[in-house]
């Protein structure tokens, strides 16, 4: 071993060469994955070309491929993801705040932590079976569902117990599915807030709650948002758990028996009924179309995939927008 002379020179050439090789390996990896994605998008786009229009978005399904539409699934998916967000965000963030800020390290919290990490890796179909048992059938406590009516003065809605194959059952199932990811992402975000921020706040006579509310949560919000959107994006594309719940592949109405925009405007109480109505979702419809024997439905499925991708893009775009806005507001 000498640090100069011929051996050193020869080794130096190799050191530089290895660096260059590594750079190219990384570059190829990046462009390979991008290339595959581009090919996929191109082939689907070509199949869907001419099939994706306003009519496709506003019609419900038909046995004729050129009359088929995704309205029921699109509205159904939006209901699902909306209700899932309403339920999973407060619960997930709450659990994360408890585990990170309040819970003292003990065997119990370690056990909880381990289970959350494991739950994040459970296949989604398992959640489907769980949701079927707990929400759709409610452990089979009743043979026949009982109908309850709820009146809010200006409108009324009714629901059955057990819930059955309704939007709410689907949303609850997707909530269970996305909760572990939301919790873990929120915990990561909270952990990345420097402890000195908490100390400074406490030293000024802030209570624990004030410290969490005014310092820790705002600082962690961008990270929490990212996790929430990622898990909701996963939820909106889920097919298996919804199929296990017994959701229909094709329906001729959006949740609440809404068949058109005019329908919703004329009977707003139908919107209230939506969470307790049957539903379908975009991925379920796509799956249904792929299984159609008629070849023309290939194009319908492709158009459905494009719609799903656009919804996902919009969600991610919103997340990035919100994150950037909050980051600016935080002004590190």
């Amino acid at each position: 071993m000498s640090l100069h002379g011929k051996i050193y020179e020869r080794r130096l050439v190799w050191r530089h060469r290895i660096g260059l090789i590594f750079e190219w390996v990384c570059r190829i990896a990046t462009f390979l994955s991008l290339g595959i994605l581009a090919v996929l998008l191109f082939s689907i786009g070509r199949q869907a070309f001419g099939w994706l229009g306003w009519g496709f978005l506003t019609r419900s399904n038909s046995y004729e491929a050129d009359q088929a539409g995704i309205m029921a699934g699109l509205i159904g998916s939006l209901w699902l993801v909306g209700l899932t967000a309403i339920m999973s965000v407060p619960m997930g963030v709450g659990a994360a705040v408890y585990l990170e800020e309040y819970a003292k390290p003990s065997r119990l919290t370690k056990f909880i932590q381990l289970n959350i990490s494991n739950l994040a890796g459970v296949p989604s179909i398992v959640y489907g079976i769980l949701g079927f048992t707990v929400f759709v059938r409610m452990f089979g406590l009743r043979d026949r569902p009982e109908r309850f009516t709820c009146s809010l003065g200006f409108a009324q809605f009714s629901f059955e117990l057990p819930l059955g194959r309704v939007v709410l059952s689907g949303a609850c199932t997707l909530t269970l599915l996305s909760l572990p990811v939301v919790i873990i992402a929120a915990q990561e975000a909270l952990r990345s807030v420097p402890p000195s921020l908490r100390h400074a706040s406490l030293a000024l006579g802030a209570t624990k709650w004030q410290t969490v509310r005014y310092q820790v949560l705002p600082a962690a919000l961008p990270g929490i948002m990212t996790g929430v959107i990622l898990s909701l994006s996963r939820a909106i594309g889920e097919t298996a758990p919804l199929a296990v719940l017994g959701a229909a592949a094709q329906l001729s109405f959006a949740p609440g028996r809404i068949r058109s925009i005019g329908d919703a405007v004329q009977h707003p109480s139908k919107i209230l009924q939506a969470p307790f109505d049957q539903f379908t979702a975009i991925p379920l419809q796509i799956y249904g179309w792929i299984n159609e024997p008629k070849a023309a439905f290939e194009h319908v499925a492709a158009a459905g995939i494009i719609v799903l991708l656009i919804v996902l893009l919009l969600m991610n775009g919103t997340a990035i927008f919100i994150r950037q806005r909050f980051q600016k507001k935080i002004r590190w």
Binding site: S196, S201, A203
Partner: protein, 276 residues
């Protein structure tokens, strides 16, 4: 110059040579009696009996890990945050034990403000930083808040530099300004005591001397306890100096006396730079 003037004005009168430390005419603001501190089973402080005078600067010096910061943080119970810590003996503030069961730690920390070694501005505007303390204490009146913010920034000698940029992020300030902002923020809750944990150790000499001038001004109204690694700083700004070593209080005395004529060998070794 301000430093020299302040020295002649305020130090000489409260520096009566005949009165020994802890036996000044006024009762001590803070008094710890045979205080001990444990991190789990590790004892970080033993048998600390120290009196801290009102409206004066007390400097805590000693090598790293000697327990001076631990001692400082136990005066506003910031150590409570760390799991498994325990205090023995007593810590009295105005004659009342701050570790007593009925003491509300939130109110205690409002009375005993703290400035950390690393400046910790909140990632918010300058105004929001300084008004945070009063606001969480329940003050909502905008005019009153504005007044407190202005007064606190003036006290911290930062007002002239930031008065036109109250809405700007505090993170945009320089290191020295950030530290003065933290001092202003601590003053805004109108504390009686200011604890400072090496407030100038991360600053350049100019900023350091500004902080020292500021401490000189502040001791007219506040009781200040400062941890410092810089012995010149301790000599310049404090009336009383306490030397900590290996979790014990080795010596405490009038600053001038401690630095010129220490009674303990360990103190002498430390201040002459033989260790630490």
């Amino acid at each position: 110059m301000a430093l020299v003037k302040a020295f002649t004005q305020f130090v000489e009168p409260v520096d009566p040579p005949a009165v020994a430390v802890g036996e000044s005419r006024r009762p001590p603001k803070i008094e710890t009696v045979q205080m001990g501190f444990f991190y789990g089973t590790h004892q970080a402080l033993r048998d600390i009996s120290l009196k801290i005078n009102e409206r004066a600067v007390t400097a805590l010096i000693g090598p790293s890990g000697c327990g001076k910061s631990t001692y400082l943080r136990s005066l506003n119970r910031m150590n409570d945050i760390i799991e498994g810590t325990r205090v023995t003996g007593s810590v009295m503030l105005d004659g009342e034990d701050i570790y007593a069961r009925e003491v509300d730690v939130v109110s205690l920390r409002k009375r005993v403000g703290m400035v950390f070694q690393k400046s910790t501005p909140f990632p918010k505007s300058i105004f929001d930083n300084v008004s945070f303390g009063p606001r969480i204490a329940g003050l909502t009146n905008r005019a009153e808040l504005t007044e407190i913010v202005e007064k606190s920034l003036q006290q911290a000698a930062l007002w002239n530099e930031v008065k036109d940029r109250m809405r700007e992020s505090a993170m945009a300030l320089s290191g020295g300004q950030q530290q003065r902002l933290c001092i202003a923020r601590a003053l805004a809750t109108s504390p009686e005591i200011l604890l400072m944990d090496e407030p100038a150790s991360a600053l350049d000499p100019a900023s350091t001397s500004r902080i020292e001038d500021l401490i000189f001004e502040l001791k007219q109204n506040y009781t200040i306890v400062i941890v410092t690694h810089n012995m010149q700083q301790a000599a310049r700004i404090s009336e009383v100096t306490a030397f900590f070593y290996q979790g014990r209080l080795v010596e405490v005395g009038q600053t001038k006396q401690l630095f010129t004529n220490p009674t303990q060998k360990e103190t002498e070794d430390y201040i002459t730079g033989r260790f630490g």
